[in-house]
């Protein structure tokens, strides 16, 4: 269901839980479909012993993909015109993520949104923007 301009105002928010206790297998699934087989995401031996990170961590694009689900659930299917993010902190197995879209402006059939995804410690892991066609 698309959003209606008459029902939106600046500052409106929409929030979803993206994932609870992120599983390593979910990260493996994303590697498999995206084709990004960087061992940093799935190979604990390489990631700890060679790359010197505390454990494997999620692809930024997995967080962006899950955040995209929150966006399309809010604005409707096929309505996004722009979506961009910065990856501000890593996402680790076991993390729980919540994502919020906030209405920045509504103009000429387009809603502009600020997008933010936070982990269970309230650390911002992704920040960005989106724009979508509205009725």
């Amino acid at each position: 269901m698309a959003l209606k301009a008459t029902q939106l105002k600046v500052g409106d928010t929409y929030t979803e839980c993206l994932v609870e206790d992120l599983k390593r297998t979910q990260i493996v699934m994303y590697a498999g479909t995206s084709g990004d087989y960087n061992p940093l995401h799935t190979d604990e031996i390489y990631t700890k012993d060679v790359a010197k990170y505390p454990s494997v961590f999620a692809h930024g694009m997995l967080t962006m993909g899950m955040t995209g689900r929150m966006l399309t659930n809010y604005v409707g299917d096929g309505r996004l015109t722009k979506y961009g993010v910065r990856f501000t902190s890593q996402v680790w197995p076991g993390d729980t993520l919540h994502s919020t879209a906030t209405v920045d402006s509504v103009d000429k059939g387009i809603v502009n949104l600020t997008v933010e995804t936070r982990n269970q410690n309230d650390v911002v892991v992704l920040s960005g923007y989106a724009a979508a066609r509205i009725d």
Binding site: T33, D36, I45, D49, G65, D77, G78, T81, Y83, R86
Partner: protein, 165 residues
């Protein structure tokens, strides 16, 4: 990323949607999709990233008979190749990703990804030393030559692993 032929297939869309934990039936069920405003299955917003599957030489995929920097039973000692920037991978991390949708892609599309090099810049990071950013713009064209998605990736190479604290 640059890719000559990226055929968009319903099964790939279904598996990709599962991998981002998105169970919206518009990605799975053609009969359901026909009842929606869109009228057909579409791909999730970040699906274009999976064009890596159609790059035969993609360097973040192990290949038979070639060295791979990930571990077997133990670390191999093979150094990772430097990233050519844009998407993160290799020795770098993915810092930013931006999409502009001219239309939403669907099963049956055959895309071509054309890469345009972007800017490179440096800055000093508190958690990881010197940071070198590289931007790559990929334009995805469909089988009719229509521009469907413009993607901009920013990769960052760090002097040392990012401090997770």
């Amino acid at each position: 990323m640059a890719v000559d032929r990226f055929p968009v297939e319903a099964t790939h869309i279904m598996m990709f949607a599962r991998s981002v934990a998105d169970y919206n039936q518009i990605y799975y069920d053609d009969n359901y999709a026909k009842t929606t405003e869109v009228g057909h299955v579409i791909a999730p917003p970040t699906f274009a990233q999976s064009s890596a599957q159609f790059d035969p030489n993609y360097f973040l995929r192990p290949k038979v008979g070639q060295p791979w920097f990930g571990s077997g039973k133990e670390p191999t000692g093979i150094k990772r190749e430097p990233s050519s920037g844009g998407g993160g991978g290799g020795g770098g991390l993915h810092a930013e990703q931006h999409y502009e949708y001219h239309r939403h892609i669907k099963p049956g599309d055959i895309l071509k990804g054309v890469v345009k090099p972007g800017k490179t810049w440096e800055k000093e990071g508190k958690r990881s030393g010197k940071l070198v950013f590289t931007e790559t713009v990929t334009e995805y064209y469909d089988q009719t030559g229509e521009l469907v998605i413009t993607a901009k990736g920013v990769g960052v190479r760090t002097e040392r692993p990012v401090d997770s604290k």
